[in-house]
Symmetry: C2
Subunit: 579 residues, 2 copies
């Protein structure tokens, strides 16, 4: 309720003195507090649920007959990187609202790594008028590591600035868990800013346990979405953390964690998607997909619906939503049945915004000029891809399919005139990372085994977490063409075959997102994947872009390549190519 007049209106409608805007009549309403269904009419006025009443008893300007339908609160995605959809927040809203997601807590970690707080500002602005209610966490780990050049550095003072926005609920996932456990001063400064602001801190604590987990949770880390086992879930819940059951495109934990969710601890369990591609959203849905999987996996439907609604609202102190009750926002879903949780009628703020899987009024992306043109590449040419080698026994990055971990490979390679030469008999390719934020001219080159590519190059400006340009190819000319085309596009993904651009997906918003429709993005991505496999022979077991985009993330073992060189995550240091 935005002012005293709207408070008065809600009371007046509830008590029957003033007619409601409309009434949803006769549906079975989910009471998330008593965990039961009850049949009632629901009165709505000025976007707020005002009250319940016996059938026909209330007065409303309009009656929506909903006999036999199920009315549940709108779903909340507790943790999502919108950038992973490659769609702008406005288009992301068009994509996920028809799935029943009405609120998200988004962590703009990717765009802030490129644009700093301007990235947050853009995300806030582009989602200002969307049907989707987007809240944000200000990313806690920009840059993710000191071993690469990102577009920005967000220290405590900058985070404090971001935390002042009322749509910012706290600090984004605190990925630097070693820093938290070590009580690093820089991390403490960041945590303290969130506490001073009275805001929350999201966690990211893969596999940590015992004393480390005590230390991490003692630092006021409020959530975790990296649990992999029921026991990990239980240990985090025990320490007062909320645990999210994640169902992204790549990382899928709902079924694996379900055994850990009991009627005793479910109030501390939530759902999230983290990273989800538009194809997955269009095909399987969004948070409704988590709900469906959980119910199929044996969870009581009411329990699953509570995890998608009230539990998240409580976790994030969003006290105006998460339930169907007087005085709360009229964000709700109407289902004909509860079979698969697809395609509800979706109301946000008392307005029907989606039905039959379609958004009713599409939101157009706003001006993105503040976060476009982020391709500051200097002094790049074919010369920069030369790979001098003093020996032929070298380190290579081994692709391990199905994940983001790489192997620490070793190989004999062909060296001529002190330079590496591609050998068609070996599946070893040149991989380069080109700094794109500050025009440092940094280019680092290394060798990648197991990608399979032949007769071309693939480049992307989506490259976690600093999002420099990654390019891979079997000849320097195609690699240069791919990079130059990528820069000309203002960012994106590019396939080159024998001197020609095969296809591309422009991502002009920070080199990460596009203003295109989600469907178009999904279709183009599918095309790029097919071409990569069919025209460029990328190995079938390898996801062409997902594999590349994690090659420069120097927190995940084993060998990684940043714009500063080849990195051995085990040693937490750079290493030469030569063994």
């Amino acid at each position: 309720m935005r002012d005293k007049a709207s408070l008065k209106n809600v009371i007046d409608v509830a008590s029957g003195r003033v007619e409601a805007d409309f009434c949803i009549s006769g549906s079975l309403v989910l009471d998330v507090y008593n965990k039961e269904w009850f049949e009632t009419d629901v009165l709505i006025s000025q976007g707020v649920i005002c009250g319940f009443c016996e059938k026909g008893e209330g007065t409303a300007k309009q009656i929506v007959v909903a006999k036999g339908k199920y009315l549940v609160p709108g779903f909340i995605d507790s943790h999502v990187h919108i950038e992973s959809s490659h769609c702008s927040p406005a288009e992301f809203s068009n994509l996920v609202v028809p799935c029943g997601t009405t609120t998200v807590i988004a962590d703009p970690h990717e765009i802030c790594n490129v644009c700093g707080l301007a990235g947050l500002d853009y995300m806030l602005e582009d989602s200002k008028n969307t049907a989707l209610q987007a809240f944000f966490m200000v990313p806690s780990c920009v840059p993710a590591t000191p071993f690469e050049h990102s577009g920005a550095i967000l220290l405590a003072p900058e985070l404090a600035k971001g935390l002042r926005n009322e749509r910012v609920l706290g600090l984004g996932e605190m990925m630097d868990y070693p820093g938290v456990i070590a009580a690093s001063p820089m991390i403490l400064d960041k945590i303290w800013e969130a506490k001073l602001a009275g805001k929350l801190i999201d966690g990211h604590s893969p596999a940590i346990e015992g004393k480390d987990l005590d230390a991490y949770s003692a630092a006021s880390i409020h959530t975790d979405h990296e649990c992999e086992t029921p026991e990990e879930l239980k240990q985090r819940v025990r320490r007062g953390m909320y645990v999210m059951l994640r169902q992204g495109s790549a990382c899928c934990n709902v079924l694996g964690l379900l055994k850990g969710v009991t009627s005793d601890n479910s109030r501390r369990c939530l759902f999230c998607t983290d990273d989800r591609q538009p194809k997955s959203i269009l095909k399987e849905g969004h948070i409704n997909n988590n709900v469906r999987l959980a119910v199929e996996g044996g969870l009581d439907p009411i329990e699953a619906l509570c995890m998608a609604t009230i539990n998240s609202a409580e976790c994030y102190h969003l006290y105006d939503r998460g339930a169907i009750a007087p005085g709360l926002r009229a964000d709700f879903l109407l289902y004909d049945d509860l079979k698969d949780f697809s395609m509800p009628q979706v109301y946000v703020g008392g307005v029907l915004v989606a039905e039959r899987g379609k958004i009713i009024t599409e939101q157009r992306p706003s001006d993105a000029s503040m976060v476009s043109g982020k391709m500051q590449v200097k002094n790049f040419s074919v010369d920069r891809l030369v790979l001098p080698l003093k020996a032929d026994w070298v380190r290579v990055i081994d692709i391990i399919s199905g994940g983001v971990v790489t192997g620490a490979g070793e190989a004999y390679v062909t060296v001529k005139d002190g330079k590496w030469r591609h050998d068609a008999k070996q599946d070893i390719l040149k991989l380069a990372v080109i700094e794109r934020h500050h025009g440092t001219g940094n280019v680092a080159v290394a060798l990648l085994r197991g990608y399979g590519l032949k007769g071309g190059a693939i480049a992307t400006s989506v490259a976690h977490d600093s999002h420099n340009i990654i390019v891979c190819g079997d000849n320097d000319e195609d690699m240069v063409l791919a990079v130059n085309h990528l820069v000309a596009l203002g960012g994106g993904m590019v396939l080159v075959k024998k001197g020609k651009i095969l296809s591309d997906l422009p991502l002009p918003i920070a080199g990460l997102m596009t203003g295109l429709k989600g469907k178009a993005v999904a279709a183009r991505l599918e095309e790029l994947h097919s071409l990569a496999h069919e025209e460029l022979s990328v190995n079938d077991t390898v996801d062409p872009f997902m594999t590349l985009c994690f090659m420069s993330l120097p927190v995940i073992p084993t060998y990684k390549l940043t714009d500063m060189g080849l990195f051995d995550v085990r040693k937490f240091d750079f290493v030469p190519l030569e063994l």
Copy 2:
């Protein structure tokens, strides 16, 4: 955690780099989040729980061996009027902390009716250094009605001032539920101040249902402690309200509501005491008594303990307590067994503050001069007690024993020279209310039937909710003596028999509380009760003081007497004595 250094200390201790202050070793710890017991060592440093560890694994300066004991979070009383104990907050802490209550949400409704915001200030000050962690709600209904003179009027601007204090969590129980349901502008102003401050609003909604309950809950009323039936509980929970199971000295709802508490809705159920006399506290306990009764009534002990701890903490957004988990306050109880929940070892902020039912370091009451001397009685004499009557067929207030409701009685009385005369054959006595806040000189006189008193008078300055002086007697001289003595005491309770003071309890703090020990207060109250029955013949079925102190509350049916005259609650207006 008060600063960055203490945040660092907690992390350092949790991760084992720094020795803990002490370790509670080997107890069964209540995990309120998973609802289970687990055996562990608990490390505590600087008043904060830092972590768990296997037996003997942690390093601590001191080991508290607790093998076989039960460790649970400190109990929270979600709604209490400390004034009803007649003890100052400091002494109240000495009384309830040994029972395991470590946090209270107190509503200083009584003292603020006498002293305005100075009453709140005094309560904050006197409880500043107590073992008991006292939070407050600023009373929403001062005065309770416009039909009496209270010591203060708290409108929205004054409430806003009170709401600024960080120990004030919101608006106290919104007793004017008709005003809320009617959307009265004065009430909306008050509610809006709480919402602007981002704070909560406690409720008080006896027996209301349907549309009225919708309107009441739509107004952001967060809690209710007036439920009488399981169905009422369910309906309030359904609307997003937290419901308290109250066990006061007079109003006892735990057993009656227990059937309404399910494992599905218990997270919205809490415990409170509301009004509890020192005798009840000393004899039966405090919130531990609610827990004991609930468990005896069949509630699962873990469920009951969660209602006494984490549920209240969540309800009142007290995120630093309510559980045993890293980073939370070290407020906890150690029990040898879970038989009757009496006499735990009580730790507050990591310090052992009570054991074997005794507080270790008694807190002394602070200076109360700002709220003493509140007996501004002017122009009072025996003449003011004259009761002129134009007829002998009159209204009398009928006592209905066992409650606070009175009957609308009618009687023929003796009238001589136009004045009422006491008739020893009738159990009808003079009852007077004397304004004591502003020296208005207001004295109202009426007739009371069923009290039984003979040969004396009883007076009290505890008289809900405006706390004027109430006096009852069978002769004017003893009544005057009782009032004059009461004024001389600075407030309290007085018994007079045939021209002599029989006994008294001075209550110099606003005429409501004393700096005496709780035990002394309980003993003196018991003496007063015995003397009232034995020496003054007050009927055995009547509680001498409880009955009198509700005689001037003009919101409870039927006839009541305020300093402004005889009031008929059915008509919501004053009525003459003569029929």
